[in-house]
């Protein structure tokens, strides 16, 4: 079943045509990877999925982007959308507060005040993000004191705390060492039982290791979308082949 469907979507930054007639259906409980050279539009598309582009001046989107069949631009409140579609960025961005308050921030915003309920959410989210054992004794300490890998998993836990349905990851491991990267990749594979994950990555091996489907973008065009195995073993388009084999340009 498709979680996100994108049909005939175009995106303009002023006069610049950043995404050209994108058609992409992303299945539920799968990991979809967006790959392509810098400036190809993959992050722009990712941000469109929880309307992060709304604040960009001159950004205009045409076509349909639907979450479970509901148009996210015309028929859905942006706060509801962002609760359903969480995001993790390239650089971990913990709030300058305790580990506990970082996780409880979202649920509090959505009206949960009861301490026992917040305690439960904090523990569950940290467990889901595979970082509970490392942080359970440091819940009151500042999140800024954590290592880069821990900060990123904390950010994933924070995204999970509001029980989203989709997790967007924009190069979420590109600033991490191989061990932290490995932990987050393992985490993604576990999380996909309950969530739909869409990730932008420059790491081909990462896309190969964890994603089910891969979309290749070039100059604002979605060139090829298929199962990851098919894209990386027998790509259909010459441009995909040139990019993934490192012979692009």
């Amino acid at each position: 079943m498709d979680k996100f469907t994108i049909d005939n979507m175009n995106l303009y930054y002023g006069k610049f045509h950043a995404l050209k007639n994108v058609n992409l259906h992303m299945p539920k409980n799968k990991i979809t990877a967006f790959i392509g050279p810098s400036g190809c539009g993959k992050s722009t598309l990712l941000k469109s999925l929880n309307r992060m582009n709304d604040l960009v001046e001159g950004c205009k989107i045409t076509g349909d982007i639907k979450l479970d069949g509901t148009d996210i631009y015309s028929d859905m409140d942006v706060n509801v959308l962002r609760k359903k579609v969480g995001m993790v960025f390239q650089k971990a961005n913990p709030f300058p507060m305790s580990v506990y308050d970082n996780i409880a921030f979202g649920p509090r915003t959505h009206g949960i005040k009861k301490k026992s309920e917040l305690d439960r959410i904090v523990e569950e989210s940290l467990r889901d993000a595979a970082i509970w054992d490392e942080l359970k004794d440091r819940l009151k300490k500042s999140a800024l004191g954590l290592s880069g890998g821990q900060q990123q998993r904390l950010c994933i836990a924070r995204a999970l705390a509001v029980k989203p349905e989709v997790l967007l990851m924009d190069e979420a491991t590109s600033a991490l060492d191989p061990i932290s990267t490995g932990k987050i990749e393992e985490l993604c594979l576990k999380l996909k039982d309950d969530y739909t994950i869409i990730m932008v990555t420059h790491n081909m091996q990462q896309a190969l290791r964890i994603s089910d489907n891969t979309a290749f973008f070039l100059l604002g065009e979605m060139v090829e979308y298929n199962s990851t195995d098919a894209v990386f073993s027998s790509p259909k388009d010459k441009r995909t082949e040139e990019y993934i084999t490192g012979r692009f340009g």
Binding site: M204, L208, F232, S233, S234, P235, T245, G246, R247, F248
Partner: protein, 214 residues
């Protein structure tokens, strides 16, 4: 871009062509020995087998190193995986060529056995199939690979003929029974060489299309 990797892939290609040439020569020598019992070629055949074995090891190491260092994908991955599989078939052909050479030493009444059968034609057909399969790889020619698979029926047909001819030899002169059986084994080796050539052709198809189907 990726000039070093491209050079390494070219090297791999050349090594495969080299191993293919050795295997082709091994079959040709085997054919000559069957027909003429040329003893000078015997030692050469044994040396060739050793060269084929060491070429297999060298190419295998090269492929594994490329997989480790370059993390290839798409056509690069297909090419290297195909090479790894093809060398196993080439090495087996080399083994069978030397088996044929050894076996043919036991055939005493050559004129009464070899010349009255299609074994010579079968050997030429097997040799041709190997040459074409290597050619298909070098030229990345799917149709040529397909022709190898199609010509397998020819060698199978010849094998059936040799089988009938062997029975006829035994019926005609029981004293030739042992030679006839040796001849039958040689025919089986040649038929297997044809199968290995088809395997190689299928891997050529895989390296081109991603499927072994021909």
């Amino acid at each position: 871009m990726r000039e070093y990797f491209d050079t390494e892939l070219l090297n791999l290609n050349n090594q495969l062509i080299g191993m293919g040439t050795l295997v082709e020569e091994a079959i040709k020598n085997a054919v000559k020995i069957i027909v003429s019992n040329d003893q000078e070629l015997l030692e050469k055949s044994r040396e060739q087998e050793e060269l084929i074995n060491s070429a297999e090891k060298k190419i295998q190491n090269h492929c594994l190193r490329l997989l480790l260092h370059q993390a290839p994908v798409a056509n690069d991955l297909r090419g290297i995986s195909a090479a790894l599989k093809m060398i196993t078939d080439l090495e087996r052909i080399g083994d069978q060529a030397i088996d044929i050479v050894e076996m043919s030493q036991y055939i005493k009444n050559r004129n009464n056995v070899i010349s009255v059968t299609h074994i010579d034609e079968m050997a030429k057909q097997a040799s041709k199939m190997v040459t074409l399969s290597i050619d298909a790889f070098v030229k990345k020619d799917f149709e040529l690979a397909k022709s190898v698979s199609e010509s397998d029926d020819i060698i199978d047909g010849l094998f059936d003929k040799v089988k009938v001819e062997t029975v006829e030899i035994i019926e005609r002169d029981k004293a030739l029974s042992e030679e006839a059986i040796d001849l039958m084994l040689i025919a089986k080796y040649l038929e297997r060489i044809g199968d290995h050539a088809v395997n190689i052709a299928e891997w050529v198809a895989f390296s081109i299309t991603g499927s072994r189907e021909l």
